[in-house]
């Protein structure tokens, strides 16, 4: 039996830069198995880049990323694909295959990776679609679905192969309150019922904090806060408290770094 307290993902001293811009500067992170971990931070702090690092789409400049004990950045192509089958990822856009119906989208990973008979695939697909409440929409094309339905259909496809871990990329962005509530409930339910590990990348503080067991707050390439939601809310750190309370200005500047405003305006006249 696996050690339930072990971390499914461990980042140690991970640095990454794009061009001259340093995105991560030696961050450490532990994502515990079987829990919901949220990764939060203002826009542009590299949350999506972090997901791409964890899933091995890009390699870090320094540091190690262990996924289920394997260093993902040194794996060969075929091993990388093997490890990725343990992970599911829900994209912000859903990323459903637009030329296939909802049913075919959910059946796709099963057809690719298993030798199940058509009847078994049908049963599994209907079970997954029932879990997200879209059994009745199985014959629809992705273009016919609403935003919330697209995300739920994509979630059904993500869990089709029963991954050990699901990564949600901004699952609440652009959802109406009902859609958001449905997704929150689904993430919690799936995590508990299927024994998944969930990683939610989001900046919707209240929604995410209501389901997450552990939160990481990233800013300017570093982890500035880690802990349970109430711990962070009462955090003494001004940066964390600015983010958690949603204050427009503070240690995390509203303005993108620029030259002095007046110099810029006056200098512009000389051009």
């Amino acid at each position: 039996m696996q050690d339930v307290t072990a971390n499914i993902i461990e980042l140690r001293g991970v640095s990454f830069s794009q061009g001259d811009r340093v995105i991560f500067d030696g961050i450490d992170m532990d994502i515990p198995r079987g829990q919901i971990t949220a990764i939060m931070g203002p826009s542009g702090t590299g949350k999506t880049t972090l997901m791409r690092l964890i899933t091995g789409q890009i390699k870090p400049d320094a540091g190690t990323i262990l996924v289920d004990g394997e260093n993902i950045s040194t794996l060969a192509r075929s091993d990388l694909y093997r490890v990725r089958r343990k992970m599911g990822m829900l994209f912000q856009s859903g990323a459903l295959f637009t030329d296939r119906t909802v049913y075919e989208n959910v059946a796709f990973p099963l057809r690719e990776h298993t030798n199940f008979t058509e009847t078994m695939i049908r049963d599994l697909v209907l079970m997954k679609l029932q879990a997200v409440g879209l059994r009745g929409a199985r014959d629809m094309l992705p273009s016919e679905l609403s935003g919330g339905m697209t995300r739920r259909a994509a979630l059904a496809r993500t869990i089709a192969l029963d991954p050990e871990m699901v990564i949600y990329d901004e699952p609440f962005a652009g959802q109406d309150p009902i859609g958001m509530g449905v997704l929150l409930q689904l993430i919690k339910l799936l995590n508990n019922a299927l024994g998944l590990t969930s990683v939610v990348v989001s900046h919707d503080i209240h929604e995410t904090a209501s389901i997450a067991d552990k939160l990481y707050v990233l800013s300017q390439g570093k982890v500035i806060g880690v802990g349970a939601a109430d711990e962070l809310m009462d955090s003494g750190s001004p940066m964390v408290s600015q983010f958690m309370k949603g204050e427009p200005d503070g240690p995390l500047p509203f303005d993108y770094p620029a030259h002095d405003y007046f110099d810029d305006l006056l200098g512009g006249a000389a051009l």
Binding site: G88, M89, A95, R157
Partner: protein, 260 residues
């Protein structure tokens, strides 16, 4: 001066790195044991999209080109009383040159651009990344069937183009202008050699199929996934593959028919 040198050097290096990526891309897409059970349906779907759906433009263009050549040839040859030679003129120019080249140019415009745009949009809507995340290699699943379908479809389209073109030529020369059909077909048969003309034309079309499809699929795979990136890559596909076809045609013609 130094800046200019640097710019030239940089674009040279960029070009080399694109060539390298294109080579690695092709090798990763096509090397390995094919999975017939899963691969066949994908290949057939692409053969339909690239081959069957390109048939109308190929057939109509072939017909008109054959008819125009026949008309032009007749108007010159009739002055020398040798209008029976129209048949060989049409068949030789179609089979050796016009068939492979024009079919490849049409294919680049019709199928190549749609390949680039389709793959580009799949990339922009994260479908390619989601394949990777589902543990399916997009190079084998998306790129390989498209590459193979292009390699197979264009030579067949070229042969169809030639046949329809010759038929169009005979329509004009024999049925309209009244060239004696016995000498039209007999001259054509006597002048057209299977090995030298037909096979060499086929070799050309295989080479063009390889180049055009490779450029189209690679441009789709390598583009920046934004709307202007897709637009730029689609244009590049048509421009690069047309230039490649015409340049390669000269080289192949020199090798095949150049020893006098």
């Amino acid at each position: 001066m130094i800046t200019r040198l640097r710019i030239i050097g940089k674009s040279g290096l960029d070009w080399l790195s694109v060539c390298g990526r294109a080579g690695v891309f092709l090798a990763h897409s096509l090397c390995g044991v094919p999975n017939l059970r899963k691969g066949m349906p994908l290949l057939i779907k692409q053969l339909y999209a690239l081959g069957v759906l390109s048939l109308p433009i190929i057939v109509v263009s072939g017909l008109f080109i054959g008819m125009v050549m026949s008309l032009q040839g007749y108007s010159i040859l009739v002055d020398y009383g040798s209008e029976q030679a129209v048949g060989q003129m049409v068949s030789l120019s179609l089979v050796r040159e016009l068939g492979p080249v024009v079919a490849a140019l049409l294919f680049a415009g019709r199928a190549g651009s749609s390949l680039t745009a389709e793959i580009g949009l799949m990339k922009a809507t994260e479908q390619i990344t989601s394949l990777e995340m589902l543990g399916v290699d997009p190079l084998r699943y998306v790129m390989a069937p498209r590459l193979l379908a292009g390699f197979i479809a264009l030579p067949i389209l070229t042969m169809i183009f030639n046949v329809v073109g010759i038929w169009g030529g005979s329509l004009v020369a024999v049925d309209w202008l009244g060239v004696y059909d016995g000498s039209f077909w007999a001259n054509m048969q006597a002048a057209t050699d299977f090995k030298i003309d037909v096979l060499n034309g086929l070799v050309k079309s295989i080479a063009f199929a390889f180049v055009v499809t490779w450029i189209a699929v690679f441009q789709g795979h390598d583009l920046t996934p934004t709307s202007e990136g897709i637009g730029r890559a689609t244009t590049k596909t048509v421009v690069y593959s047309s230039l490649a076809v015409l340049g390669l045609d000269f080289i192949l013609t020199a090798v095949m028919f150049g020893d006098f």
